[in-house]
């Protein structure tokens, strides 16, 4: 597949943190969804957030996106905007694919909204279905539009909540290729996923959450080491099985 065209301005990759979170606590009534989570990502880095259901991944991303407010802790974003792609598609189902994209391109005050729409249609591979109502699209295709809209904000940090769910292998590959290109050009990408292999392959940094606690932050290699150390009995199994054993050892 050809390189995906992108319109984002080149950003100088620097070693400074593009986003930093410290001691984040989020409560829903009695339940603590996050208990003091902190991390930092550098510009152009891809960070995967993994962990079991209800670990707090979505909660963390919505806080980073500025939608939810944490009870404690702070988020540092030195410059620029955060783009956000929610887990549940945020689209107008009674508008067509093209109308959805055009609306958000206009709201983002793009100079040439129509050009941005073309670009995103091309990117999502839905050019030939531009005139169709979103409600008629398959779940995977809706997800493609969902992501494309998140990209319209040309963010410095892009947050993707389980972006590959429901995508076919070809679309997945396309998505990650596009995301990698973004990262190469300086966009920081934080994504959550339940696919450990995906996290390992694309994430330069991994953040492991369980029950609102941050269990690990580091590179995939470092996680492998930690897993080998803490769950030696599963060291010979595949990474996913080893990861589950690791969580088990940590009491989750």
């Amino acid at each position: 597949m050809d390189a995906v065209p992108v319109a984002f301005e080149l950003m100088e990759a620097s070693a400074t943190a593009a986003l930093e979170a410290r001691g984040i606590v989020k409560r829903y009534g009695e339940r603590e969804a996050l208990r003091g989570v902190g991390f930092s990502v550098h510009s152009g880095e891809l960070m995967a957030v993994i962990g079991p259901n209800g670990a707090g991944k979505t909660t963390l991303l919505t806080i980073l996106a500025g939608i939810a407010r944490p009870e404690e802790g702070e988020v540092h974003l030195p410059n620029g905007d955060v783009g956000w792609v929610p887990q549940q598609a945020a689209l107008y189902r009674r508008l067509t694919v093209e109308e959805n994209l055009l609306l958000f391109a206009r709201l983002e005050s793009h100079e040439d909204p129509r050009a941005s729409v073309e670009e995103m249609l091309e990117l999502s591979g839905l050019s030939d279905r531009r005139g169709e109502l979103v409600a008629r699209l398959s779940g995977g295709n809706q997800q493609r539009i969902n992501i494309a809209i998140g990209l319209l904000s040309r963010p410095v940090v892009l947050l993707l909540d389980e972006p590959s769910v429901g995508l076919d292998p070809r679309q997945r590959a396309r998505l990650w290729q596009f995301v990698s290109t973004l990262a190469e050009r300086g966009t920081t990408v934080i994504f959550s996923t339940h696919d450990i292999q995906e996290a390992e392959r694309y994430g330069k940094q991994l953040l492991v959450l369980a029950d609102g606690e941050s269990l690990f932050q580091g590179t995939p290699e470092e996680l492998r080491d930690a897993v080998r150390r803490e769950a030696p009995e599963a060291a010979s199994s595949d990474f996913e099985t080893a990861f589950v054993a690791f969580l088990h050892h940590r009491g989750h």
Binding site: T58, T62, P86, A90, Y92, R93, F104, I149
Partner: protein, 450 residues
């Protein structure tokens, strides 16, 4: 079956709002309808002032009729609020505490008595009404005419009966009491017989011809007076009504009907549209995406209310244009129509936004909009005085909290050139707009995140 039933009950228990509505709403509607039917058609409240001296009696000729006991008769038909002065009566009417006031002036009986004299007067009762809306005016008119018809019927029957006695006396003769003394009256029938008997004893000539004339007269009178008896029994409407209108701002009924139609249209179009489209933002998960820097929450509210006003304006104007086919409207007042629709639309829009922000799904919101708007519109159309004072006060307060009644007033004022000013209702609507917009803004804070 059993498990399905259990499941439904469990779900119902988990949705307290739905469960409460399910119970409260039908009860509320039932009470409303019950009240409307019973109170409205049963006994309207009427202030009653009887200035007639207690010992005066209606008399026919020299016979006094037994007391008719006006108070009981009237107060059996309406709920009487007894007042002592005319001012008090007027005040009761103006405040809407009563539908109308009935004043029986002190000379009423004298006037009625004068009916049987050479110089008949016009006995008049005074009615004070407050015709703030034409539905009410009609209601009052109906009540007055039926009350009056009843009173007239009573008096007419008495008069006819007494009058009939006299006629009978004149026709057939008999005895008749005057100040304790019995007087014998010959009667026309007997007179004619006597004259007939006398006739042969008179010699033919001028004298006999004169007698023949007298005989013809008595016979003719008898038959004519027989007819007179029938006429007397047909005596109607001896009492006239002097109707005083306290605040006469009644628009013609058809203008009022148009105002009601226009306001109802505006209500449903704007409330449903604004509430629904705001709830849709949430249902489509778009709300967080939008409010992350793309649009401010207040901006979003403004957009929805603006949408409601624009569509409400178009639909309401279309309705008015359509009605123009049947009734002619004063298009010269178009500017005022616009103002009434725009300001009313803003208030409905803000109320719809508050509703849309408070509820979760479009379907719930639409249902709620109907459930709230219909009874409010219904309550707003109840005329004052048609129901008990305390209850009416409650209704006044409740309807003042929603934009329907002020919007209806503004619409009526805009359509009716003879109507009251539009300023008051507009101010009322503006205040409601501010309050509801603030409520909506507050509710948006709670809009769920993802």
């Amino acid at each position: 079956m059993r498990w399905l039933l259990l499941k439904d009950l469990q779900i119902l228990r988990r949705s307290p709002l739905q469960a409460t509505l399910l119970v409260v709403y039908p009860v509320l509607i039932a009470l409303l309808v019950g009240f409307a039917i019973s109170r409205d058609s049963d006994k309207p409240r009427v202030a009653f002032l009887n200035e007639v001296p207690a010992d005066s009696r209606v008399s026919v000729g020299q016979t006094e009729l037994p007391s008719i006991n006006v108070d009981d008769r009237i107060c059996g038909r309406v709920e009487c609020v007894n007042v002592d002065t005319r001012e008090e009566a007027e005040e009761e009417v103006r405040s809407g505490n009563v539908l109308a006031a009935l004043v029986l002036p002190g000379d009423l009986v004298d006037q009625i008595n004068s009916l049987s004299t050479q110089n008949p007067g016009t006995p008049t009762v005074e009615v004070i009404v407050n015709e703030e809306d034409p539905v009410k005016a009609q209601l009052v008119d109906d009540r007055i005419s039926s009350l009056l018809a009843q009173a007239n019927l009573v008096i007419a029957k008495r008069i006819a009966k007494e009058g009939g006695k006299f006629l009978n006396l004149v026709l057939n003769g008999g005895s008749f009491e005057v100040i304790g003394q019995s007087v014998e009256i010959l009667g026309l029938r007997a007179s004619a017989q006597i004259l007939q008997a006398l006739r042969p004893s008179l010699p033919p000539g001028a004298l006999r011809e004169s007698l023949d004339q007298v005989i013809r007269f008595t016979v003719l009178s008898r038959s004519n007076l027989d007819v007179g008896g029938v006429l007397i029994s047909r005596l109607t409407q001896p009492i006239a009504v002097d109707k005083q209108v306290v605040s006469a701002s009644t628009p013609p009924l058809e203008i009022f009907a148009i105002a009601v139609a226009a306001t109802l249209t505006l209500t449903f179009v704007v409330v449903l549209l604004v509430a629904g489209s705001l709830a849709l933002e949430r249902e489509e998960n778009a709300f967080p995406r939008l409010t992350r820097g793309l649009v401010s929450r207040s901006g979003l509210l403004g957009e929805k209310i603006g949408l409601g006003i624009a569509v409400g304006l178009v639909v309401t104007l279309l309705l008015l244009a359509g009605l123009e086919l049947f009734v002619s409207l004063e298009w010269g007042r178009f500017g005022l129509w616009l103002v009434a629709i725009l300001v009313g639309g803003a208030a409905f829009g803000a109320a719809g936004a508050a509703l849309g922000a408070a509820a979760r799904e479009v379907r719930t919101v639409s249902l709620l909009a109907f459930m709230v708007s219909l009874p409010i519109a219904f309550l707003s159309l109840i005329p004052s005085g048609a129901i008990g004072g305390g209850l009416y006060d409650v209704i006044e307060v409740v309807t003042a909290l929603f934009p329907f009644k002020p919007s209806l007033r503004a619409m009526t004022a805009a359509l009716d050139s003879a109507g009251p000013g539009i300023g008051g209702p507009l101010l009322h609507l503006a205040a409601l707009t501010v309050v509801y917009a603030a409520l909506a803004r507050l509710a948006l804070r709670r809009f769920a995140v993802v």
